[in-house]
Each structure stands twice: as C-alpha cells, then as structure tokens.
Symmetry: C2
Subunit: 205 residues, 2 copies
C-alpha cells in the first residue's frame, strides 16, 4: 500500500512519526523501534521511518531527551502512516490551530493516521475521531470523552483500529499498536518476527 | 543510596544512560522512560537521568534517530546507576580500549552497572561479567558465552540481577529491568506506579 508516489523500484511505505516539545519519549520511540526494525530487518521492500517535528528542528521531549528531526511538518514527503504520540506537549498542540489544520490535511491524504496515549486528544481536537471508537491513556479516558462527545471511548483495549484511524492506550501500548500496523502492512508473520527481534515478550526470557 | 556526594537537600540517585552511534533506540529509551518517569512523577527526592555519549556530542542510533547527550563519558558526574544499552554499535565498543577502560573504572565507582540486550557483550569485554550470571538478546546468548567462558549465561530470564551488575535480555526487556531497578531504589510500590503510569501491561487495556 505505497502511497508516496514516485516511480521506481518498490520502496515500501513511508512512516512519519511526529516529535514535538513535550512528547513522551516512549510514546514516540516505541513505534519508531517497531517500524524501523521492521523496515531494516523484516520488510521485503525498503520502508522508511521519518522523524517529523513542527519546524524541522530538534525537540526537547517530556523527560528531557533531545531528539533531532528529519523533516518539518511542511517539508515531509507523502506518508503511508502518520503517528502522533502523546505527552505533556499535546496540551499546547490540541489548541494550536496551525497544527490542527496540518493534521486534518495530512490525515485526509494519509491512509493510516495513528495516535499513542494522549496523542488521541490532538486527533480529537482536529475532529478526526467524531463518530469513531478510540482510546487513550487510562488516566485521560474522561478527557477524551469530554473533548468530543461524538467519540465512542473504549476503556479496555491496548489499541483500537478504525481503519484509517488507529488509537492506542498509554505510552508502551504504542508498541502493541505499531506491531499491529506491521501486521496490517506486511502480515502477521512479519509482525511476529519484529516482536521476536525486539524481544517484546514480557514474562518470557 | 545516593552516591553523588555534594551536600544539600536530598537529591536522589543519578542515573546515566549511555548513548552511542549504533545504539538500538528502544534499548536506551525504554529504561530512560521508566527511570525518568519515576524521577518526575513517583520518586520522593529528585533523581536525575542523564544521557551520556562518548564525546558528549549527539549520536546517530541504529535505526537512524539522532539523540543529543547531556554529558561526555569524561565529564559525567558521579552516578548511582550506569546503564549500557546494546545495538550494532556495541561491536565497535567491545573492541575499543578507551571505552572499556572507562567502563571498568566507572563500574568500580558505581553501585549498579546494568546492560540491555547486547550491551552485556561490552560488559563482558571489559571483564565485568566473569564469574557472574548474565543474559543478553536471545540471538546473542552464544556470543556472550564465547566472549568470556567464565560467564554463567542465563537463557530464560528477562533480566539477571547480580547485585552490582544487572543484565537484561533483548531490547524491550530493558523496560522490565528498569522497573526492577526502580523497585531496588524505591520499593515495589514505586515500580508498580511507574508500570501503571507508562501502561506497561501488555494484554491489558
């Protein structure tokens, strides 16, 4: 399901992960690890994972880590998957008209828009969750319902797949959601290889 | 168990996480998230998590993410916990005399030295695992045994705690190990609060 367009050898999907000031580190890096591990070691084509920040500059994450970006919102290429993590920084983004306009436009042009944790509050502010089932960090389920009464808030799922929009529960649930996205893009066997590769098997050695 | 020394109000432990070119992103950021979530939201004092790189400059991780460092190896303050992640970059570090000398000296001065994934191969190269039980990524268990026949390689644990040296299995097992370190530093209830906070409960909503 490549969407990015230009002719040439099969390149595989392009996945954009949003980094912003106050992004929760694991919200972003969990899916980054899963999808870039898949791209590097499992996928037949050559998918790419890109770090996108609002202005293309480095961001300071919620817990103090500084991460560089590959692209700004405006110069990012066409995407097959856009992932919006959560974190304290979402409080500003949920009221940032420029960000919400960009997100709506990107979501309309991107086959899958996904959120981790409180990233779903930004999707809700952009009106992307109306009439859909969605979830978020367990502590923010009430806020999600308040953000848009048209959302059918799901309380007991690691992630909720509504086709073009996928939302996950808190922080580390983004890993589960990203493994699900690999399964959608490349099948369950590919997702299992990634899970084994990153040894995401709590309770097993 | 503060080790960092200077007088003043209780500051809590100082935790250093090593970042280097070719570090596997989740190996480092999983423990970073756990320990900095604890520091920010759970701990009574004010623990700090610091990103340390060999020369203090930004590093390019194994899957392409660029992360800045707070300190170089040489200018990092006294630590209570030093975490050495894994990734492709460990192949160079395991043969880098300057790095191994630093690691031996730091381990001698640091109450807990821990590794994630193939980070244990660097600890082994520094001679820190001789006579101890230790583990690593499931694909590298043979390499760990070859690195030092004096290691009692454990095949079926998420992490192995030998007191002053703790090693974990692959990539995401670093999250389990870091939760265990929180339990050692601050008790099981604190670790449970962090686990709930980052919703690290695969299989639950």
């Amino acid at each position: 399901m490549t969407h990015s367009g230009t002719a040439g050898p099969a390149r595989g999907p392009v996945i954009g992960i949003l980094f912003f000031d106050g992004v929760e580190e694991l919200d972003a890096v969990g899916p980054w690890e899963v999808l870039s591990f898949w791209a590097a070691h499992v996928a037949a084509g050559a998918p790419r994972t890109l770090a996108i920040s609002p202005d293309g500059r480095a961001v300071r994450c919620a817990k103090g880590l500084t991460v560089s970006a590959d692209h700004s919102r405006d110069d990012a290429p066409g995407l097959d998957v856009l992932i919006h993590p959560g974190g304290q920084g979402t409080r500003a983004l949920a009221g940032d008209r420029e960000h919400l306009d960009w997100l709506r436009a990107r979501a309309a042009a991107t086959p899958i828009t996904a959120s981790v944790c409180t990233g779903s509050l930004v999707l809700a502010a952009a009106g992307l969750l109306t009439g859909r089932r969605a979830t978020t960090h367990w502590r923010s389920l009430g806020r999600l319902a308040e953000a848009d009464p048209g959302i059918d808030v799901v309380h007991d799922a690691r992630f909720v797949d509504e086709g073009s929009v996928v939302t996950s529960a808190g922080v580390s649930a983004g890993i589960d959601m990203a493994l699900h996205l690999v399964a959608r893009l490349d099948g369950a066997a590919a997702a299992d290889r990634v899970r084994r590769g990153i040894q995401y098997e709590p309770g097993r050695g």
